[in-house]
């Protein structure tokens, strides 16, 4: 059995055990008093603090506080466990007070963004690797510039050589924008080849107006267009792999702040466990 499967089984069974334990504890204590809401609330809050701490752990890599891989596994499974705790805490019902709705919405945002995040973190590297043409994110603009300059050079040179501005005009009309910056973000995210195929078709259609020499140029332009498309793919996926955390992390801080306020309100207005 692969190590990953074994690890998943281990953590999964831990999660299952914890879930069963907490559900049976809830069944035992529920209803008599409101203390199960307090207990589940505190455990939930404590876990959320630990989960939030993962980002801070990453800022001190020189201290031997354990491997990031293990922390991430804890983060994922403890995060899923907070889902169980949250459902128990709210008794499976959508809240009716405004502030509590805000809390729930924030929590759901963090949870959903986290689950989506781990899904794309596991699935998209395979896409990137399969596509090939790996470029580190900071270098993408440099490569883009190179491709742009090459395309421009080809287009301009073709005017002089072939004494016809067809390619140059096509470049100005269609390719300039294409090479200027990152393109077709959503198409790349959803693996849609339509824009690339459309552009390549247009280039192919152009051929009927070109002579032998110019056709060589368009062949090279086709290569460049494919390369640029590959670069855009890298950009789109790598950017998303960075941007999902722009939701997950800031909303977490907002959630923690609201959770603190919630604790104050609960203790202040409920006067204790009944």
């Amino acid at each position: 059995m692969s190590g990953f499967v074994r690890r998943r089984l281990l953590w999964g069974s831990l999660l299952l055990a914890a879930t069963l334990a907490v559900i049976s504890a809830y069944a035992r204590w529920a209803g008599a008093t409101t203390r199960e809401a307090y207990l589940s609330g505190w455990v939930l809050f404590g876990l959320m603090v630990l989960l939030t701490g993962y980002n801070w752990f990453k800022k001190i890599p020189y201290l031997p506080l354990g491997r990031s891989e293990v922390w991430l596994q804890f983060h994922i499974y403890a995060g899923l466990f907070t889902g169980v705790l949250f459902l128990l805490h709210v008794r499976g019902r959508w809240p009716t007070g405004w502030f509590e709705i805000v809390l729930t919405v924030l929590y759901v945002l963090v949870m959903v963004s986290g689950v989506l995040g781990i899904l794309i973190s596991r699935g998209w590297p395979k896409r990137l690797t399969a596509r090939g043409g790996e470029v580190p994110f900071e270098r993408i603009p440099i490569v883009r510039r190179q491709l742009r300059e090459q395309a421009e050079a080809l287009a301009l040179n073709s005017v002089a050589e072939a004494r016809s501005a067809t390619i140059a005009e096509f470049h100005a009309r269609r390719l300039h924008a294409f090479f200027a910056g990152p393109q077709n973000f959503l198409s790349h995210v959803f693996e849609i080849r339509l824009p690339l195929n459309a552009l390549l078709n247009e280039l192919g259609d152009l051929n009927r107006f070109l002579n032998e020499q110019e056709r060589k140029v368009t062949a090279q332009l086709v290569t460049l267009v494919r390369q640029k498309d590959g670069l855009d793919y890298q950009h789109a996926l790598q950017l998303t792999l960075r941007l999902w955390l722009f939701i997950h992390i800031p909303v977490t801080y907002s959630l923690m702040l609201c959770a603190l306020a919630h604790i104050v309100l609960v203790y202040g207005f409920s006067a204790g466990v009944r």
Binding site: A32, T96, W98, G132, P250
Partner: protein, 560 residues
């Protein structure tokens, strides 16, 4: 396809630095300068080299030399300007924050916005609406409550229950620390039980009187534990079974209660009398009501009436079976339950059975078959004696009422009747005795129906036919045992007949087979669980029948 992209040219001097906060503004154009922005985000680009003035021996002016290093292209072709400045300035840029840095700033911004919104929410105009955990039930939302509302802070009268609502953040914090267990004592949550809190004391200001349950309760239960507010804008939901079972399903608590009950005097458990209502007195079991059980249909104890095989100790003799059989008829029809048992006002229970309303129409106490209009008065032996001793007057009165006007006729009538009576009973006292003590229907006093009568009369054999008559009362009168017909048989549980109209009487009350008064015709638990069970589909929660609030003690029951 690995040859799809050229691998970027990794020049030797450049590391990628994702840890930097700022990156050169030319990066997205593809040519970041080598100097890089300062840590605070200003562009530091100047020129490509710093020319050096070289003076050879003998020269007095010297030449400026370009000092650009080999990696960056070596000395430039044109060399420095004559003034000593570099001729190749590096174009400045507007440095950009790195993605990581932008994310950090977004976090700060989001936190600030959240804080601002929280402040607006908690201290702004919609403060209470925002904080409230949900709509308040209609019990606490009505006209009466609204009228009282103005005396409490909070736009919706939050201060009526929540002390914290009387003030601002300070007050909330203080209230928070007054909570038991407090915010810094989460470990106490494991052992806490629900007692009265500050919140519950507020309940008592309108709903006074605490000890709501049995006198031998060992564990206090807070009001708000069972009566949950903020559950929706309808009526407050009834308490959940788990609340009740937290004690009644808990062996330890029940045992403690039992012991406490043994120490209390029996008088503590006396029923509270409600004016005009008679309760069937069920003796309190030895262990009190401390059996542990889980739900109604499974192991809720059998009703005491059946479990202890109690009997009706009513002194009045009544045979349901006879009255429901075809032997008894009215208007050609046998009697039905509803002929005697009529619902009271709300329909939950029935009007009390009285002689005048329910028995007299058949059992008219006629002692003289020839004169059926004459009837012994019911209810008091003194009145009966008085009547009997004034029989001539009664007969005279009867004659007059029948239209006999002449004095002589009346006297004749009276004399004739009295003579016949004397023939039968030999003396007035004998008659009196007969009327009081005779109980044998075969020797009834009235001799069957007179020819003029259409309906069969119920027999009147004597008071003792129905009552328990014993000699030795005051003034030589017999002692007739007081009739005690309970209005309520089940004290601790509420039964509402109006809700059970789909069931007919005989399905629960087996009157047709009851011949003795001492039969208690109430159904047993099993008859209830036919419907009130998961299988039957009708609610079987504790609150369906029971109320926590007590039937003992002299305090007036709290208004519900």
């Amino acid at each position: 396809m690995k040859d799809q992209l050229p691998s970027p040219d990794f020049d030797r001097s450049r590391y990628d630095r994702p840890n930097q906060d700022w990156e050169c503004g030319w990066t997205c154009d593809g040519c970041p300068c080598r100097i890089g922005p300062s840590p605070s985000g200003t562009c530091r680009a100047t020129a490509e080299c710093r020319p050096v003035l070289e003076k050879k021996d003998g020269e007095d002016k010297g030449r400026w030399r370009c000092t650009r290093s080999k990696e960056h292209g070596g000395p430039c072709t044109n060399g420095p300007l004559p003034s000593g400045g570099c001729a190749c300035p590096i174009p400045t840029c507007q440095p950009r924050r790195s993605l990581r840095n932008q994310r950090g700033r977004l976090c700060v911004a989001v936190t600030a916005v959240t804080l601002a919104l929280l402040l607006v929410g908690f201290f702004g105009p919609w403060q209470w609406r925002f904080i409230s955990a949900g709509p308040v039930s209609s019990n606490h939302h009505g006209v009466v409550f609204a009228q009282m509302k103005h005396s409490w802070p909070g736009s919706d009268g939050c201060g009526a229950c929540h002390t914290a609502a009387h003030g601002d953040l300070h007050e909330w914090m203080r209230a928070a620390f007054r909570a038991r267990p407090g915010p810094f004592e989460p470990h106490r949550l494991l052992t806490v039980t629900a007692g009265m809190t500050e919140l519950d004391n507020h309940c008592l200001s309108c709903h006074p009187g605490h000890r709501f349950h049995q006198p031998n309760v060992t564990r206090d239960h807070s009001c708000s534990a069972c009566h949950r507010e903020h559950q929706g804008s309808g009526r407050m939901p009834p308490p959940a079974d788990t609340q009740c079972l937290s004690c009644h399903g808990n062996g330890t608590v029940m045992e403690a209660s039992r012991k406490a009950g043994e120490k209390l005097p029996p008088a503590a458990f006396d029923y509270r009398q409600v004016a005009g209502r008679q309760h069937f007195q069920v003796p309190r079991p030895e262990r009190g009501y401390t059996r542990v059980f889980k739900s109604f249909d499974t192991d809720h104890p059998e009703f005491q009436l059946h479990a202890q095989k109690l009997t009706d100790t009513n002194s009045l003799r009544f045979n349901h079976s006879l009255h429901l059989s075809s032997l008894v008829q009215r208007n050609g029809q046998p009697l039905a339950c509803a002929d005697c048992h009529q619902p009271a006002a709300a329909g939950a229970h029935f009007q009390a059975i009285t002689f005048a309303k329910h028995c007299q129409s058949c059992h008219a106490l006629q002692f003289d078959a020839r004169n059926p209009q004459l009837r012994v008065p019911h209810g008091d032996p003194v009145g009966v004696r008085a009547f009997l001793r004034s029989l001539p007057t009664q007969y005279a009165d009867l004659a007059r009422r029948s239209g006999v006007t002449a004095q002589a006729d009346t006297e004749k009538f009276v004399a004739e009747e009295m003579r016949l009576l004397r023939e039968r009973a030999f003396s007035g006292e004998n008659l009196e005795q007969q009327i009081f003590f005779a109980s044998d229907p075969s020797k009834q006093l009235t001799v069957g129906a007179s020819p003029g009568n259409a309906s069969p009369r119920a027999r009147f054999a004597g008071c003792a036919y129905c009552h328990d008559v014993k000699p030795g009362g005051a003034d030589g009168l017999p002692h007739i045992a007081r009739v005690f017909t309970p209005d309520r048989w089940l004290i601790r549980g509420e039964f509402n007949h109006a809700k059970h109209t789909i069931v007919n009487c005989a399905q629960c009350h087996d009157a047709a087979s009851s011949r003795r008064t001492e039969d208690i015709l109430l159904p047993n638990k099993q008859s209830c669980t036919e419907c009130h069970s998961p299988a039957g589909g009708v609610s079987q929660t504790c609150a369906t029948c029971h109320s926590y609030h007590t039937v003992h003690g002299s305090q007036p029951q709290t208004k519900r």
